[in-house]
């Protein structure tokens, strides 16, 4: 285990945790208004799909990115209407979005591009990377922090922005109020529905970006099961971080690191690939269990 290997792993972990982080921020904002967003997986898939497809057909990755955000936001809007106006069951509607995403993207992939299962259009460039001017020269940290793709840095900025939104802006305060006590917020005159819509739509945009990062952030490839449950891992990170941006980001990093570790385990050892691949999911279940165990222990028994 050389320093180089470690910094290598940390670099890759940062990259890999980016889609998790963006999706987790989306889930976090939704969670703050008390709307558990199960649809993250599906929205990410739509984003990943749009980024590749539109990027290729329009010849510009950035346009692909833009359309990824637009598509996922539009779908989120549909989801939001059904859930907020029609008061449909949140969980069921979310699952519907996920299933719609798998079906529609596979369908369109085949109908439009004659591709089954995977699609990698030639000529589509991935999103650019940035080398950070001063930081790149720092001995070890430079290798870890510099040279990431655009969305990676963007996601870090988003952590700060989301924290700012939640804790320093009126909108953010309204969001948290709605999430904690809907009736009190209504009484205080907060436009609850509007706040919920905004929260969901913001989340939708972020989820679309998360998917785009997966499909055009590193390589340019869309496979029809590329999200692979990351939306739920992102949700687990939100639970881990108690819906606080900083702590959630830590959770995403940890889960991302597990994803990298399992990949390295695959290549470095002779352990068959599937076993390490199981790790991230298992870890998340264990984390969630531990969280609730701890919360239960903290619940007051009698004082005095």
């Amino acid at each position: 285990m050389t320093v180089e290997t470690i910094s290598n792993i940390l670099f890759a972990s940062l990259r890999v945790s980016t889609p998790l982080l963006l999706a987790a921020l989306a889930g976090l904002i939704s969670q703050r208004v008390n709307l558990l967003n199960i649809a993250l997986d599906g929205l990410m898939l739509f984003g990943a799909f749009a980024a590749v497809v539109f990027g290729a057909s329009l010849g510009n990755t950035w346009l692909g990115l833009l359309l990824a955000v637009i598509l996922s936001t539009v779908i989120t809007f549909l989801f939001a209407v059904v859930v907020i106006e029609l008061e449909a069951n949140l969980i069921v509607a979310g699952l519907a979005v996920n299933i719609l995403a798998t079906g529609l993207t596979s369908y369109l992939l085949e109908v439009l591009f004659d591709a089954r299962g995977a699609y990698s259009p030639g000529g589509l460039v991935s999103l650019p990377r940035i080398t950070l001017p001063v930081i790149e020269s720092i001995p070890v940290l430079g290798d870890i922090l510099s040279g990431h793709g655009v969305l990676v840095y963007f996601s870090w900025v988003m952590v700060v922005l989301v924290a700012f939104l939640l804790y320093r802006t009126p909108l953010g305060i309204h969001m948290r109020a709605v999430g904690e006590h809907l009736e009190a917020s209504e009484t205080a005159g907060i436009p609850v529905k509007r706040v919920q819509y905004i929260a969901l739509l913001l989340g939708g945009a972020l989820a679309g970006l998360a998917g785009a990062q997966l499909s055009v952030g590193n390589l340019t490839l869309f496979t029809d099961n590329m999200i692979n449950g990351r939306g739920f891992i992102a949700l687990a990170a939100v639970f881990f971080g108690a819906a606080r941006p900083g702590l959630t980001a830590v959770g995403c990093f940890i889960f991302g690191m597990f994803e990298i570790l399992q990949f390295r385990l695959q290549t470095a050892t002779s352990i068959p690939s599937q076993l390490p691949q199981m790790l991230p999911y298992l870890i998340v279940v264990v984390v969630l269990t531990a969280l609730n165990l701890q919360r239960r222990r903290r619940k007051a028994v009698i004082t005095e």
Partner: protein, 364 residues
């Protein structure tokens, strides 16, 4: 919430002030404050008053009324019972207005024979859902052949008390059913050993509104003979049981397969009462059993409670209706702020006295 409760209170008040509130309405603001914190709150309120703001202070605690209010309006059963200048009114008079005069329209005979101890609580402490102590050293017992009435303004620990007796809330201290310590026992076992509960919230805790009378009345006995045979539930036995209960308790519905959601409030309460009383339970907890019922239905429920007592049952009646408590109880307990603050026989006390205790007035 990391702030202490009193700090949260300050935040609430600051919120009001920030919005330039000229009229502040505070609803039971001292419920969770320590005496010291209450004093500090009052300093602030007096300051606000001196600035010319108007404060409406809702409370059932007489000490506070006397301490900080200039005028008082007393509400009783939805009607204004009095409007006074506090300085000219004694606590006694305030309490009297709160509880009114005994109507004497409900009359039941006293218990003929009080027997052995059936339910006992010793030094019970429990927290409410917020983690704040709701029961602070409750001790009392109920004997067979008596109705013990528990008077108190809602929110002084009565709900938590029922939950503790039922085993649905963690508590310190002990609960006994006859000689048996049931403190760690699950509710089903307590029920099997003779405990029955008419819960406070009829629709949420007492019934499954999505199903039939039949299914509701077997909720506490579906696993026992004759309703159960190995792993099956015998629908026909449930139906005939429900039918017989409907007759015995005059529940107006088309049949045992009627959905409970279609029944009136009174009939719904009858279903619950029927279910709980059907097997003559030795111990019955009745929490606000006549709340929201019309006169006939209320009378019916009270008749059943008295009947149970006369047959040897031990009944704990929790209620906010003093007429009911005075008429039915053989012994009266008063609960305030998680403690039993008074005990008396109804004929040896008065509405006024009880009202004082309910409002936290201590004979200093």
């Amino acid at each position: 919430m990391e702030l202490s409760v009193s700090a949260q209170q300050y935040v609430e008040i600051i919120k009001l002030l920030y919005r330039q509130a000229q009229i502040l309405i505070l609803d039971e603001p001292t419920a969770v404050l320590t005496p010291h914190e209450i004093d500090r709150l009052f300093v602030i309120l007096e300051q606000l008053r001196d600035e010319g703001r108007t404060i409406i202070f809702i409370t059932h605690k007489l000490r506070e009324v006397k301490e900080i209010c200039s005028r008082a309006t007393i509400l009783r059963r939805g009607v204004v019972a009095g409007c006074v200048d506090v300085a000219d009114t004694t606590e006694r008079e305030l309490a009297a207005m709160m509880v009114g005069r005994q109507l004497m329209d409900i009359d039941y005979e006293q218990s003929k024979q009080v027997g052995s101890m059936k339910l006992r609580l010793t030094d019970v402490w429990a927290n409410d859902d917020r983690g704040v102590p709701a029961l602070k050293g409750i001790s009392f017992d109920v004997h067979s052949g008596e109705i013990v009435g528990l008077a108190g303004v809602q929110g002084n620990g009565q709900s938590e008390l029922v939950e503790v007796i039922g085993g649905m809330r963690e508590a310190e201290g002990n609960v006994y059913l006859e000689e048996q310590n049931i403190s760690r026992m699950a509710l089903r076992k307590r029920r099997d050993d003779g405990l029955a509960i008419i819960p406070e919230k009829r629709k949420e805790q007492g019934l499954n509104l999505a199903t039939t009378i039949s299914e509701n009345v077997i909720a506490t006995r579906y696993y026992k003979a004759p309703f159960s045979q190995r792993f099956a539930v015998k629908q026909d036995k449930a139906d005939s049981f429900a039918a017989s209960l409907m007759e015995r308790y005059a529940i107006k519905a088309e049949g045992p397969r009627s959905f409970v959601s279609t029944l009136s409030g009174g009939n719904q309460q009858k279903v619950i009462t029927a279910r709980e009383l059907a097997e003559d339970p030795p111990v019955l907890i009745a929490a606000h059993p006549t709340r929201g019922l019309d006169v006939a239905a209320a009378r019916f429920v009270r008749d059943e409670l008295v009947k149970r007592r006369d047959q040897g049952g031990a009944v704990l009646l929790i209620s906010a209706d003093l007429d009911e408590l005075f008429a039915l109880s053989d012994r009266l307990l008063v609960m305030y702020d998680g403690r039993i603050v008074g005990e008396a026989r109804p004929e040896e006390t008065s509405f006024e006295e009880v009202g004082l205790l309910m409002a936290g007035h201590t004979h200093a």
